[in-house]
């Protein structure tokens, strides 16, 4: 089949290694979207990824580029150190909600507010996956986890944190968008957002963060398909999708 052409295959920026993620966990999809973006923008050989502590801690085995592994929540600080030392490198962090929004809240706010020219891929699955399903800052009201067995009580734990909206209020220019990967259509949108974020960085424009709503079938106690549905029905109403901020909005955005 000489003139057969491959219209979909594993991107170069991913290794062949099979991930440790649970069946149907959308971490895998998000990895691929990042890798495809690096391929298409031809950035792989300039890229340094920063792994979080979370289920994606081993992501450096799956990405085919240089990597650093951060302490829990500190990926944006490592990224700052890398980017300020070698501005020619493309630096991204890949962080879960516990990592970025809980223990890493200060580094999140300040790396964004300084306008570090880095890209944060923020994987919001409303739970602590790796440690076996504890409450995250993004856990929804009444959602049951192992540390809120009666469901998240907003009068005790407050309401979930909307990271994209929170950071979008900062004056320093940035690109911030929330996407989801629960359906092919949304995956395609997510891909476009992630690619756009890396493009801004390649142009040396601004800080960029893409919040990706993701599933954790294992700790949600759902099957992979049920998990997609749960995400759509429960997360999207609280975490509205869309572009929250662009550098074009300018400083007073």
């Amino acid at each position: 089949m000489a003139q057969t052409n491959i219209i979909f295959k594993k991107p170069e920026s991913l290794t062949d290694r099979i991930t440790h993620y649970c069946p149907g966990c959308t971490h895998g999809i998000i990895h691929r979207l990042v890798a495809e973006s690096l391929d298409e923008l031809d950035l792989r050989e300039r890229t340094v990824g920063i792994a979080p502590v979370g289920c994606a801690v081993l992501s450096y085995h799956y990405f085919n580029c240089d990597f650093q592994e951060a302490a829990h929540g500190r990926a944006p600080a490592l990224a700052t150190g890398q980017k300020r030392s070698r501005p020619e490198t493309i630096v991204f962090t890949y962080q879960g909600d516990g990592d970025l929004a809980s223990i890493g809240a200060a580094e999140m706010i300040h790396s964004a507010n300084r306008g570090e020219k880095i890209t944060i891929i923020f994987v919001n699955n409303a739970i602590y996956g790796m440690t076996g399903g504890q409450m995250a800052p993004t856990t929804l009201p009444k959602q049951v986890t192992s540390t809120c067995p009666a469901g998240r009580q907003v009068d005790q734990a407050g309401y979930p944190l909307r990271v994209a909206e929170l950071l979008a209020t900062l004056v320093t220019p940035s690109f911030i968008q929330r996407v989801s990967v629960h359906s092919p259509r949304h995956i395609i949108e997510a891909k476009a957002a992630i690619k756009r974020a890396f493009a801004y960085q390649a142009e040396g424009r601004c800080f960029s963060l893409v919040e990706v709503l993701s599933t954790c079938p294992t700790n949600w106690g759902l099957g992979p398909l049920e998990a997609l549905r749960w995400l759509e029905e429960n997360m999207i109403p609280y975490y509205p999708l869309g572009v929250k901020k662009t550098p074009e909005d300018g400083p007073e955005g």
């Binding site: 491959i6 219209i7 979909f8 099979i18 149907g24 895998g28 999809i29 395609i188 992979p224 398909l225």
Partner: protein
């Protein structure tokens, strides 16, 4: 005719591809693979439109899609 190839031992049997396929021509095999999962398979090659949605939905990059000749994609990806 487009051709969807599912790498048996990468598959974790999550069925996301099944759900994604507009032609509903994917299913799950009855045998478990090396990793102990029932893996996805194509039920009816003939009706595949090469839309790639199965591959796009696969968390484990287990799917490759081939096609003959030039194609016009339905979406930018």
């Amino acid at each position: 005719m487009p051709k969807v190839l599912i790498e048996r031992d990468r598959c974790k049997g999550c069925e996301l591809c099944n759900a994604a396929c507009p032609q509903k021509i994917l299913g799950m095999s009855k045998e478990i693979n090396a990793k102990g999962y029932f893996c996805a398979q194509v039920i009816d090659y003939t009706r595949c439109i090469g839309c790639r949605l199965c591959a796009i939905s696969c968390p484990d990059v287990a799917i490759t899609v081939r096609a003959h000749g030039v194609r016009y994609n339905l979406f930018e990806y």
